[in-house]
């Protein structure tokens, strides 16, 4: 990821800023086209392929990678792992930004984005798993926002409001875990309704479970990965406690991720057995499935274990990036690659460059927002005036 060291006191034309500026400008231009000329002008979506990159990447991957928030806050506040305390705020922040961007991306993807509140306000389609996803994402975004506000309120100096919100921490955390469990899993369950379109190696009645368990991996790996990046580029913003605890967080999460990945691997094997899809392993899709399950589940599992055991941060951080890539591949497979596998080649989907442009645009906005917030608010350090909660 192009993310050179940049000091925020001096926002000059660094390479990062130039690239970011280009992406933002192009993104805004595509946004203009999208909202004046429709989806046909900006996407390669078709009647066979109603969901493309904006769902496959922005929604499926976005939500999975934003799982760090609930994973970390649950570990710290519910499971009593207080030594991870300094990791909570950055994780909540990335989670909040992640979900906010998912919702932003959905505005591009749905046909009439101004109607996004309809499922709650106008007519509730409660038989739809998408309703569950929408409801949980909306609520969880709110929860993440509230969880994030103490940082903003500290920055703004609103002491009483801040203390009030901090008192809600426990309730918010539990609520957040419940909502995350529900919508992380139902993102996978969305595809349960289309057994005839998703390749049998990926289709499984356990899809919901796969998505939930792998979201934990994604959350843990993203916290390690972001921690490594923050450590590198925002070292000066970190206080002593953060610097001291960061390595422990990475190693602890690596160990957890290794265990969860091991469980996830077993689940995937059980999934193949349940569907009796063994014979498909000998096909092209089978080879690709093996790449995903061995190359991006089993191997990261092993290397996380090695890294945690050897207390080797390099391995841990590298494996975290690897595992994150594995989650991306998995979501792409379910949403795009193994979906519609039955269609002839000329009917298959490949994203339009503008779709890729918007996805990049949204990621860039996320990075810029993160940069701004980290630079200004007490995320990587504890505010001197306040007790840590």
């Amino acid at each position: 990821m192009p993310f050179p060291k940049v000091t925020l006191e001096r926002p000059r034309w660094t390479p990062f800023n130039i690239v970011a500026a280009i992406i933002v400008v192009v993104g805004l231009a595509i946004t203009g086209i999208r909202f004046t000329q429709g989806l046909a002008a900006t996407t390669r979506l078709s009647d066979y392929n109603p969901w493309g990159l904006w769902i496959g990447f922005d929604l499926l991957v976005g939500v999975a990678l934003a799982a760090g928030g609930y994973v970390t806050s649950a570990a710290c506040y519910l499971f009593g792992l207080k030594r991870f305390h300094t990791a909570v705020r950055p994780a909540i922040l990335t989670g909040f930004l992640g979900y906010a961007l998912v919702v932003l991306a959905l505005h591009y993807d749905v046909g009439r984005p101004w109607r996004l509140p309809y499922p709650f306000l106008v007519q509730q389609g409660t038989t739809s798993l998408l309703f569950e996803v929408a409801a949980c994402v909306a609520l969880y975004l709110t929860v993440l926002f509230i969880e994030w506000t103490p940082a903003a309120l500290e920055w703004l100096g609103l002491k009483r409001a801040r203390n009030l919100v901090v008192r809600l921490t426990l309730v918010l955390t539990i609520f957040g875990v419940v909502l995350s469990t529900l919508h992380q899993s139902s993102l996978g369950a969305l595809f349960l309704i289309a057994p005839s379109k998703l390749h049998p190696l990926w289709y499984s009645p356990y899809l919901a479970l796969f998505f939930f368990v792998s979201s934990i991996v994604a959350g843990l790996s993203m916290v390690i990965f972001e921690g490594a990046l923050a450590h590198r580029y925002f070292h000066h913003k970190m206080d002593e406690a953060h610097r001291r605890e960061a390595d422990g967080v990475a190693l602890g999460f690596a160990k957890a991720a290794s265990w969860v990945l091991a469980g996830y691997f077993v689940l995937k094997v059980v999934g193949v057995a349940q569907a009796d899809a063994w014979r498909h392993l000998a096909s092209g899709y089978g080879a690709w499935f093996l790449v995903e399950v061995i190359g991006f589940v089993l191997l990261p599992c092993f290397f996380f274990a090695v890294g945690a055991r050897e207390k080797n941060l390099k391995i841990v951080r590298f494996t975290a990036a690897w595992a994150v890539l594995g989650i991306v591949i998995n979501r792409f497979n379910v949403g795009l690659i193994a979906f519609n596998y039955h269609l002839p080649a000329e009917e298959r989907y490949f994203p339009h460059w503008m779709e890729i442009g918007i996805s990049l645009f949204i990621v860039t906005i996320g990075i810029l927002a993160y940069k701004f917030i980290v630079s200004h608010m007490p995320i990587l350090y504890a505010h001197p005036d306040y007790e840590p909660h």
């Binding site: 092209g284 899709y285 591949i329 497979n333 080649a345 490949f350």
Partner: protein, 529 residues
Amino acid sequence: MTTFKNERALRSILLLAASTLVLSAFVLGVQGSAPPAALDPEPGRPRADVIRIDGLQRFGPLERSAVTYLHEKHTRALAARNLDCLACHLPGEKALSTKFKRLEDTSREQTMAVYHTHCTACHRETAARGERSGPVSCAGCHQERPVASSWRDIGMDKSLHFRHVKAQENRCETCHHQRDPATEKLVYVKGQENNCRSCHREVPVEKVRSLRQAAHEQCIDCHRKRIARKEEGGPIHCSGCHDPALQAKIEKLKEVPRLLRGQPDQTLVKAARRNAPPIDPAERVNLVAFNHLGHETYVDTCRACHHETMASCAACHPLEGAKEGRFVTLQTAMHRGTAEPSCIGCHNAAKRKPACAGCHEAIPVKDPPDVAGCASCHVPKPEGLESGADRQAVARRLLEARKTAAASYADEEIPENVEIKALSRTYEGVKLPHRRIVKALAQGAAESRLAAAFHRDPGTLCQGCHHNSPAAKKPPACASCHGQPFDPRHPGRPGLQAAYHLQCMECHRSMGIAKPAATDCTGCHKEKR
């Protein structure tokens, strides 16, 4: 693992590799898996020589998938090296064994070893000579290959049989034989020739080889020997007999002398219970007079009716059914509309010929048949016949009394043109050349003895279109039934427009009348101004 010297470079390489993987997966997904390698010079063309090597099944379930073997690919390769059948097939007592490099399947291990040793040895040898060769790895042979097969059964029809009779100069014993129970030897008895399948079944029964094995050994051996003697011989390769295109090229003789095996010219169809006193003729349905001689000319093989053995129907199908006839009663054996060896089944099949199908395609097949038709075949014994007359004499009298030409109305009784205009909307009505159509249909019927026998009433033919009403010179109008589309009481009954269209179009299609096309509205209708 602990020290990556050039960590950043490694990281970027891995990232690149991963993204290449994602991309290639896309491409993979988009293009699907590559088709299996071409197996023959004309890939995709169905072949008649596809053999599944799965003989080990008789020793238990297969461990690996059966081998898809293309026989002619091998014979061609061997011929190029001046090798013939003997390269793979061992000479047995009388003929070459159809099995590969062995005479008998002794045991699982031995059979398996025969294939593994000889196949791979030859493949290796060929490859060593630098020629294109076959696989030597397990999975190379043991895999399911979707090779399209054009294989089609072949039988000995009258023409083919007569050509063999001529070639063998009436030496029936060359092929026909039976087992003498006393000596356990194969003997030939004149007048008792049977069809091959009566003993040689699909799978071997005790010592009797399967039809497949018997036919391949006997036919190919004889063909080979004749070819070796530079005489005219039949095919020795799979496709020669089993490829539909080559099958069509087998010479058909127009005139084939009658095969004599002591059969009657005409007879009354036997109907009796086994081991039971004969039925009182007064309580019995009239016996059917059967024109055996006539039917011999209608069918291609004796097997068309004598589907298992050359015995009479009642031999296996007594009135109450018997084990040899799978408990199919005589009544069913004669009347089952969907079984080709039965009388009605064969007549139904005949009605699918274009000349008949125009009407009969749309006429519902009733199974069991309509009782109104019983009397067509079950005719009372003629009066004034001396009481001792034998079955054949009775049958002859009955058949002589039967009409040989279909009844029809005189031309002037048939309306010349009929105008159909009840529905005219976008298009004008149709002026139907009614008499021309009737005459054309009548001519088709006149050429058929079957039609002559069954189109008894001059109105019968009319019922092809004017269906579901009694045969009459003035049938009711179509609209009297078809006026109402989507009548919930008769949801299967088309509305008037569809009734017309279905009648015309289905008839044209069944009779192979290409023009006007069903979608060519102006072929029949004038466009309305």
